[in-house]
Symmetry: C2
Subunit: 310 residues, 2 copies
Amino acid sequence: MSKFVYGIDIGGTSIKIGLFSLSGTLVNKWEIFTDLSDDGINILTDVYQSLKSNTIALDDVVGYGFGIPGPVVNGVVSSAVNLGWLNKDIKKELSPLLNNDNIFLINDANAAALGESWQGAAVGYSNSIMITLGTGVGGGIIVNNKVVTGVTGSAGEIGHMKLKEKDGIICNCGGEGCLETLASATGIRRNFCRRLKDSNLESSISCFDNPSAKMIFDAAKNGDEAALLVVEDVSYYLAYAIQLLAVVVNPGIVLIGGGVANAGDFLIDRIIEKYNKIAFSATKDLIIQSSMLGNDAGIYGAASLVIKND
Amino acid sequence: MSKFVYGIDIGGTSIKIGLFSLSGTLVNKWEIFTDLSDDGINILTDVYQSLKSNTIALDDVVGYGFGIPGPVVNGVVSSAVNLGWLNKDIKKELSPLLNNDNIFLINDANAAALGESWQGAAVGYSNSIMITLGTGVGGGIIVNNKVVTGVTGSAGEIGHMKLKEKDGIICNCGGEGCLETLASATGIRRNFCRRLKDSNLESSISCFDNPSAKMIFDAAKNGDEAALLVVEDVSYYLAYAIQLLAVVVNPGIVLIGGGVANAGDFLIDRIIEKYNKIAFSATKDLIIQSSMLGNDAGIYGAASLVIKND
């Protein structure tokens, strides 16, 4: 009888569920809606119902890995604001239902980094870093094939590396000058509109249309001057963050993922060019490239916790 | 018959040798002169002679740990400029002489961090960082009780975290704005003299006397305005580097060591005050304090490689 593993990535909008063979092949995947009502009290039972209704019997499941949008400390979700969770002990709640103790938790950005390290763009590198550029900026740090979590689950909070002393824009964390305010999709839009307002530049994009990061990157590719300036800014601050990461943990590869990374080589080439100018000499061999698994990175990483532990 | 371990810290001026019991007690320690002639060709035989002449028979020595002033990759010293060494395979050279294969190598700053983690100020913390402020600035990063070395042995090169985009002073590494140019003893002197030259401040210290970092700190303690400004600068940049380290690896404790750290709470209190203002909220519980083992940290860390592996 074949045995399986689930990798489950709980997000604020949807929950991604991946069924993996024990050898790590993604056999099936689907999504369910995230019910945020009543502080997310239904989320875990929804997951359970969805797993139970699948054709694979729960008895054939070796274990479950969960990616969580918040810090995980000692196997407990200390807080996941987007879900309404506080000190949530997923293992305690789900073990009796699933009749299985083999339940592992990991922060979602760390899960994505681990997924890329296991079966994505960082395969073959025991030391890697993934930076996820989405609505916010997240990250995961892999040292000797293991995720670095830190004492309060805040390791890899790359979005809150403070890179500018003064910036005039307050980050979600309350700080100023964070990478998140400089290189997230939200930050890119805001900085584009600021550039446009503060300069005499003309642009094909109007800030009244609430432009997306993709629109701004597309305009830059077409030679839009204001958009190009912002792409230069974004790639500079990413290069700046990466030179810091390089002398701190000295990885072999840094991956750029998330929606903003869809800009592809147009962004990556600029980051590399700027990185090479400022990096510490002994870390110049660092590879910087796009991630590979896209939105599936999280389910891969979550599943790998079970498979690697088995 | 009692068995022992040697922890040996090879520096550019002297070589510190520590004899430890298997339970980790420092039984005896001494120093020998570092012979830098002929690209340091005599260093290892000098160490061997010194060990052989000790009353403890080499047959009673379980193993040897070496701290090296340069990056160590896969057990080989890729380069130690201060010693004149390039691609030095210490284990291969010493094993036959010592009749012992149990030889471990580690970068000296990493050795100090590991020593503090083993028997110093970071005992009880599985995740810690040590920053050494001397002629240069070094560091070591401990994750899950192990040193992070990185792919080219450059992890923990905290002195080369680039913190200022433009500074006008070129670091030994060729870069600009490195923590080393801002917070090393050399950097403190240079920045003090720059402050003095660029301002109308009076100071009890003259830059013609080539003041030491200690003199500058002492003057600051006595209310010297120019010196105080520099102490504020140094503590700000250290706090700034620590806030970055905190969101990257999220340690429980950061230790400040090296000659400059002899300034004690006068420096530490200022770093903490500034850190609390800029740190990411989830990392504010971080402890920042002085290291404990002083110049012995390296021999402790080197010895611990043998004892922990045994």
